[in-house]
Symmetry: C2
Subunit: 363 residues, 2 copies
């Protein structure tokens, strides 16, 4: 996908670009809607229109998965996430496992080795004790696998009907690794875009578990800790690793849009190189949702300078579970801040942030 592949279609695309190009959004709506929690355009409006102006912290303005700070010159990263997934158990995982992996993965994506996490539970009155026990055990097991220590916890109970079984908020602290200097600002035209595995598994597993689709197929969530992936990428590419992102809510498409906006570069994806399982593809077609927008809980997106891209891809594929890792596209200069996709049918279109919320309560 070199720059020369950009053809006369550009003109049609340009009209869309003019209107879509990133401005700092304002939050104008009178009420919060489900789409504000979906990770797409509405979430971004909320973050950039309400949180960033109020909190005004450099760490937050980067809109990265984790925020960095130092204590006595020790570089630390910290991240937090509440998990409200419905149902709480699904093929391949459960809310407790998800809550640990999601948080350690945000640290890993920020180039920080996860060290400690906290777990805060909001329980709905009437929650079965066995369900609670199962999730507490899932949390403990996931922390063990991810090699993080659970250092503090909290429990609140709200009246029946004021939560949905349980919500889990996990917060993690990690130690920044200095092999790579990760920042979307370092993206350059020609950088390669890698994904660590097939996309859309988690979101599809949740949809199928809800039985909304009437599909007989089943697929498993890809929930897993990703520090080994981050470690392999940093080891293989060193300073040529530009940045990593854990492609959760909003999927790979949303992550690429965030990177394009933050770097003022463009990203061009080759749809036919994106690894997608047949079940995920079928479910996506049925629902009219592109798997690129479907949540993952074990897929790292990485941008790597061209000279180290092959080594990075090879290192990725050597990580257990990442055999299907792929090079799915490249960073370009034009149009700045935008993501384009060359579809499998030969067209090229803008792959924008989603405006609505196709899949609420996915994580």
């Amino acid at each position: 996908m070199s720059e020369t592949a950009v053809t006369g279609r550009e003109e049609r695309v340009r009209g869309i670009i003019e209107t879509a190009r990133a401005k700092r959004p304002r939050f104008k709506e009178p009420r919060v809607t489900m789409s504000h929690g979906a990770g797409g355009k509405a979430t971004q409006t909320l973050i950039e229109g309400v949180f960033v102006p109020a909190f005004g912290s450099g760490a937050l303005e980067e809109l990265a998965d984790a925020g960095n700070f130092t204590i006595d010159e020790l570089g630390l990263a910290m991240t937090t996430d509440t998990f409200v997934v419905r149902p709480i158990r699904f093929p391949g995982g459960s809310i407790g496992e998800l809550a640990v992996n999601g948080t350690v993965n945000d640290l890993a994506a920020g180039g920080a080795r996860p060290v400690a996490i906290t777990v805060a539970l909001v329980l709905e009155e009437g929650l079965e004790a066995d369900d609670l026990r199962a999730e507490v055990e899932a949390i403990a097991e996931a922390a063990k696998v991810a090699e993080v220590q659970i250092v503090a916890g909290d429990t609140k109970v709200v009246e029946r009907g004021h939560a949905d079984s349980l919500y889990v908020c996990t917060t993690g602290v990690g130690r920044l690794d200095h092999r790579s200097r990760l920042s979307p600002a370092s993206l350059r035209a020609g950088d390669r875009v890698l994904v660590s595995g097939p996309v859309g598994e988690h979101g599809t597993a949740i949809m199928l578990a809800r039985g909304d689709l009437g599909l007989d197929a089943e697929t498993e969530s890809d929930t897993r800790p990703l520090w080994d992936v981050a470690d392999a990428l940093m080891e293989a590419a060193g300073e040529e690793l530009r940045c990593m992102r854990d492609a959760t809510r909003g999927g790979v498409a949303t992550v690429l849009n965030e990177l394009a906006r933050a770097s003022k570069a463009s990203v061009l994806v080759a749809e036919d190189r994106v690894p997608v399982s047949p079940t995920v593809a079928a479910a996506g077609e049925l629902l009219g949702i592109d798997p690129m927008y479907v949540a993952n809980e074990g897929v790292m997106v990485a941008c790597v300078a061209p000279g180290s891209a092959d080594a990075a891809l090879e290192a990725l594929r050597a990580v257990p579970g990442c055999e299907a890792a792929a090079d799915i596209g490249e960073v370009g200069a034009e149009p700045p801040g935008m993501v384009l996709i060359d579809t499998a049918f030969g067209g090229r279109r803008v792959m924008d942030l989603l405006a609505g919320d196709p899949l609420p309560r996915i994580c």
Copy 2:
């Protein structure tokens, strides 16, 4: 309240003690009830019966306000809390301010200077944008006052009816201060018990704001950051400061019970020395709830060796807002693990952990 004050009443008390004395509780109930979130006996059963065995971390087993860990020999403390208070605004504060102060206070009580916090919001679909903005601003302002940096955030939205306006989970990281070695295990007979201000203000403010009491009085929540209090105590008492606790859910009585259990010492409180405002006392009487069990959001409980107790109390009273700090009792040897109170009417009784939940959703 010297040991000699323990009289023949001891015999009557002993019977109660035999049955009440701390064993590691089991969690036997089939379902979660509101009382499991109240901070009393049921919460303890949940923590000790479900969380500690599963998570099995040394940091957690101490059941302290914050957990400690080290990265590269740097001593850190970390704590997390979800706030589900109802209503979200009340005289003296709001959920956003509470969420910041509650978390920095857990760090302060653990002897750690608060450095960084994260904020995770669960929003109910339909929440008014102005309510959200007000709380985001309250969070920002409270962080500024408490001198902590907000380094990361998260937002989830759940369907109408699956949350109550908004829930806020804050997690903080602090740097351990080494002037004092804080541990309830260091409690010794003769140590003094100090409180930094009048008790029961926060919980009473919430009850009155709910209008449940039909009382015309109003009182303000005492929500405030307590690092200056912790700092003053450590500076004044150094290694003679045995431990500190932020007396939130369950109030001062619950904190003292936790300390007594953890230290296997006893605590004897002189009720007439406990600072209580007339409004809090009246509301407590009306409801039949002892203000000692009512939540505070700006009261530190400290145990200090007798030789430094006067200096510590003087230092406390010099902190703005802590002019009413008081010495309310002393640590004894017998009966181990129990808290006794000499009431204003001349009786002595056990001040046990509460079994039920008089005040749900207080923080």
